[in-house]
Point group: C2
DNA sequence: TAGATTGTTAATCGATTAACAATC
DNA sequence: TAGATTGTTAATCGATTAACAATC
């Protein structure tokens, strides 16, 4: 792998390539080209070749890329060739949907604990998970050494919970609360807010 | 408003500004500066001024921006100074979470119909909504003239459903299925896939 | 007035695309 | 071999930042 710093915008495209390649592999394909992959994900062939070539020479002139080989490489680069423990904070509707989501395990993630501050909910089950008390969140996350969290608490609580997560050692937050989080440089945040995403499209209607 | 083409990357930041400004307004603030807004959303003051100035001169030297005035302008630019009808396709866990989400109405959106192809689900209720038969989706969308959809069906079904939505006149799709959709140029798609978002962060851990 | 902050220009920085030699 | 496709370079295109005159 290249030692130079890889731009974040390239890192952001790799999971999209990974997802498309996995689908190709599932449908029995063995090889693909930058052209074909580009058509699947809506990105130019030149850009796909450039992105991939940041990390090594993974293709062959004339024949393209071995799908399985490229999958393995991308998983290694993104560090999803292992299973990451993730905690889920907030057991509302969105928390339930994520807890029941079957798509995490084969893409590198596993929910290990669900926390909520509502004492009525604590102790009740979501699928196989028992909802735990948010009061014990920091201590448990420290003990387990978890580095990733999904945040589905109401917006007014989100910054405070995020601060606690970071204090507990979390370094990556998938934030469903409709608010921008203030975090240190060594913490990554990804935002999912359906209203914001819809608002990105209405301009063009 | 400027007649030149506005880059999509700028349009994408406006909903984030809008969300932060709304929070400021809710907490009683009257004015803000590019500096202050930038700290809230994690974007440089220069960029915020540049973005906003694409659409007019909305600020005042020395005092900054009137929050309410800027809110009104941004809502007008993004066309969320009205309520958009949105259909929801797929009444699984994610569909339920979105159907129950209270954050749409005051940000410009209203779910008008929920469709599912599971005959067992058709006719049952999610909150105030009765799940409708996917067989009638195209016709109903055409009749209602709906332009936006949220897609929470399984990945293998997503492309087919998207094709039908487009045929029915939908021009903006918020896609929760973990797959890249192939759509014509005049259709916008936004992607929400928790595993993909998590995979964008593991590289840095 | 003095201080603050905008809107805008120019400079810098970074990303994308086109093109093609290399080679499978 | 002939055809296909990579990896890479150079050119183009676009986005961000720094700086500051204008002005509230």
């Amino acid at each position: 792998m290249n030692a130079e710093k890889i731009p974040d915008i390239i890192i952001g495209r790799l999971p999209v390539y990974l997802r498309a390649l996995q689908r190709m592999a599932d449908s029995g394909l063995k090889t693909t080209s930058s052209q074909e992959l580009g058509e699947h994900v809506g990105i130019s062939a030149a850009q796909i070749r450039k992105d991939i070539s940041q990390f090594g020479e993974f293709g062959k002139q004339g024949t393209g890329y071995s799908i399985q080989f490229l999958l393995d490489k991308l998983r290694g680069i993104l560090k999803v060739d292992r299973i990451w423990d993730v905690v889920l904070i907030g057991a509302g509707d969105m928390g339930h949907a994520l807890a029941n989501y079957q798509g995490f395990t084969n893409r590198g993630f596993r929910i290990v604990s669900i926390f909520d501050n509502d004492k009525e909910k604590v102790g009740t089950m979501i699928g196989e998970y028992k909802i735990e008390d948010a009061d014990q969140m920091v201590e448990k996350i420290k003990t387990m050494g978890v580095k990733m969290a999904m945040l589905t608490v109401p917006a007014p609580a989100a910054q405070n919970v995020a601060d606690k997560l970071i204090q507990a050692g979390v370094r990556a937050i998938l934030n469903y609360a409709p608010i921008s989080l203030n975090v240190p440089n060594n913490v990554k945040v990804q935002y999912i807010d359906p209203a914001t995403h819809l608002q990105r499209m209405t301009y063009y209607l």
